[in-house]
Amino acid sequence: MRQKHHKSRTQAIVKQALTAAAIAGGTLFTGSVQAATDLSLWYHGAGNEVESNIINQIISDFNASQSDWTVSIQSFPQESYNDSVVAAALAGSLPDILDVDGPVMPNWAWAGYLQPLPISEEQIADFLPGTLGFWNDELYSVGLWDAAVALVTRQSILDEFGLRKPTLAEPWTADEFNDALAAIKESGKYEYPLDLGMAWTGEWYPYAFSPFLQSFGGDLIDRDTYRSAEGVLNGEAALAFGEWWQGLFKNDLAPGTSQDPADRDSGFLEGKYAMAWNGNWAAVPMLDTFDDVLFLPAPDFGKGPVIGAASWQFGISGDTEHADGAASFIEFAVNDKYLAAFSDGIGLIPSTPGAAALTTKYAEGGPMAVFYELSEQQGRVRPVTPGYVVQAKVFEKALADIANGADVADTLDSAVDEIEIDIKRNEGYGHD
């Protein structure tokens, strides 16, 4: 990146020289020699051809639309993307434009990897709340899509067990949900009534399961102060959640941490599981396999139904000297046309109603339109704090341990201790 800066400096000098020459030479060179400045963009989606085609299309459209900036992309596999950014930041060679996973954004903003995004408010006015990354009351990142999780099952399964079809207005209560699982278990027709996706380790745990905890009334951390988790992650509500969670595995209602990843991918399609807790990105094969598949809202465990919000978003690197160019690229990219293209290409939820209307799957009456509403009505972002990165890890381990039979109270107490020690060691992560 030093080379790049060096190059742009050289270009600036050349530009000045040419401008001088142009002035000296009168009308000879007027305006036509403005050299474009290079902007680098890092993206997490290496290996996905459809995704690459869309992002490349946006870049070439942008480069053709104006002559000040030339954006060039470098793609990374998702698994090593965050490590690459951290390494680049330590080496002082961040690109100009970054894409960042929503819950990680505060961590990077706090560390100075990102700078606030100067983008006009009306341009993002009708964006889904989960697609806007705010930290310390400032917008740092904006997403071209969101993701949502639903309780996937089939109408025929609901009919078979005489279950009410839950709606957004009236989701299942905890009792209805538990009774449904028990009835399906009782019938013995399925290996497990519910597939939670325990095979997907990592961010899936806090993303998919902390909403259950929130629906019980607990959370990863006290969101008023972001300095303590005592009484929130180990309070009455959290203990009730923990007992319920452990029961799912103790009573063989869901496959545990040793679930085969292949079963996670195809178990519901093969009829091993009656229901699955899964995301919109997995919906297309389900729609292809069954003609009566249903995407149901999260159950309400007492404090309202909740699902996780926020997916990958674009932001401007803290190091860049060309924040204006980076911002103009992001403004260019958050166009309904491109939001719709991503949605059609890889099944993501478009960030605006306007874009949703342009898509085949999310337009009104489309097969996945329900995800848009889920995202809009039930979506809640994960704790907005730089410490989330650690809290997510602690929560993941606590959930895995409880699923494997660890004492609920002790495990949650330990999780609280670990989170609070981490906050203290980081001098409060910038929360006053």
Binding site: T257, V389, K393, A400, D422
Partner: protein, 359 residues
């Protein structure tokens, strides 16, 4: 020492080893000193806060260990409360340490293990249970893997050291797992160990005509570490077989002929000719296996993530998990330094035990 081979004029030798020494210094010795320095700070992976020197605080936190005696819960009349099965009821240590001033010192500490002693409960409490569990698992792993892997490797080496047609095919087969990436091997073994329809369960089911029920090898805390040990032994045994083999081939055939003439049995030939001839090889194999076993990481990362219930936590896995996963570089460094001291101490003891007693 003045006449040591190292100091005799062999400039070419030093010159030739220079690239190797430089790389080792750059990528092993320098990072070690970094780790040592960072372990005395509060260095984070991602943070705008300035790094501070904290001395031995990180070590104190990680190594803090104490013995606590819990008195049983008594009712108003002073009799010990027992549950339906007659088990004595104790107050929860964590509740005590969070509320009782007498237990203030143990706040945030957790019971590692405990035992019954008369009418009270003795508990060993630690501030960082994951470190102690990882340490115990790693030591157990080394204690099992080092002798078993070394022994099987020697057995295989003796088998493939015979002059038979096609013996090279066997050598190749035994050596093959070493060439395959450990990550790939771990992924494959995850399928083999699968609890529902894994290869191992199918095999046991067929061989025992259904008498042995399926085991969730990696999902059960009592089998997970054993499963990883078995797979690790299988994966690297070929490498050590080759080292043993090279040792076997340095033993002069005339010694065996002499033993034969003297009327030695096969066992006697092994005991008095082969084994003494393998002395230096044995030292090498044991030290190499020990060091490799202490570095247990990829299998854990791919197969279990340290679970279930911490039964497969290892020191290196914890170092990486803390340093990168939890962005706590100083925490990862502390474990690395402790691991270094441990491996160094064990290697020195091994060297001393296997020293050449003639000189």
């Amino acid at each position: 020492m003045a006449d040591s081979k190292l100091t005799r004029s062999n400039r070419t030798g030093w010159l030739m080893s220079l690239p190797g020494f430089t790389l080792v210094a750059l990528f092993i010795i320098v990072p070690f000193f970094f780790a040592f320095g960072l372990s005395m700070t509060n260095q984070r992976l991602v943070s705008p806060n300035p790094t501070k020197y904290v001395g031995l605080e990180n070590y104190r936190q990680m190594l803090d260990i104490a013995l606590v005696t819990l008195q049983p819960e008594r009712d108003a009349s002073g009799t010990v409360i027992r549950d339906d099965e007659g088990t004595i009821q104790y107050p929860r240590l964590r509740r005590l340490s969070r509320s009782d001033p007498a237990f203030e010192r143990y706040k945030g500490m957790r019971e590692w293990f405990g035992w019954q002693s008369g009418e009270s409960h003795k508990a060993v409490v630690v501030r960082d249970p994951l470190f102690w569990i990882a340490l115990r698992n790693t030591l157990l792993f080394v204690l099992v893997v080092a002798p078993v892997q070394g022994g099987i490797a020697l057995g295989l080496a003796l088998l493939v050291n015979q002059k038979l047609r096609g013996i090279n095919a066997f050598r190749t087969i035994y050596f093959m797992p070493v060439v395959v990436s450990i990550v790939v091997v771990s992924l494959l073994w995850r399928f083999i160990y699968d609890g529902n329809d894994g290869l191992l369960n199918n095999l046991l089911d067929t061989l025992s005509f259904g008498a042995i029920p399926g085991v969730d090898w990696l999902g059960n805390p009592s089998t997970a570490l054993g499963a990883i040990m078995a797979m690790s032994i299988w994966q690297a045994v070929g490498f050590h077989m080759v080292i043993w083999l090279s040792g076997l081939q340095t033993i002069s055939p005339t010694l065996y002929e002499a033993a034969d003439i003297e009327g030695a049995s096969k066992w006697q030939a092994f005991r008095y000719v082969t084994w003494p001839g393998l002395r230096n090889t044995a030292v090498l194999v044991i030290i190499v296996i020990t060091m490799q076993a202490f570095a247990l990481f990829a299998q854990i990362d791919v197969m279990t993530n340290g679970g279930p219930l911490d039964s497969t936590q290892s020191l290196v896995f914890q170092a990486v998990e803390r340093g990168y996963g939890k962005q706590d570089i100083s925490g990862g460094s502390v474990i690395s330094v402790v691991l270094f001291v441990l491996v160094l101490a064990i290697s020195l003891v091994q060297r001393w035990l296997t020293r050449d007693r003639q000189n």
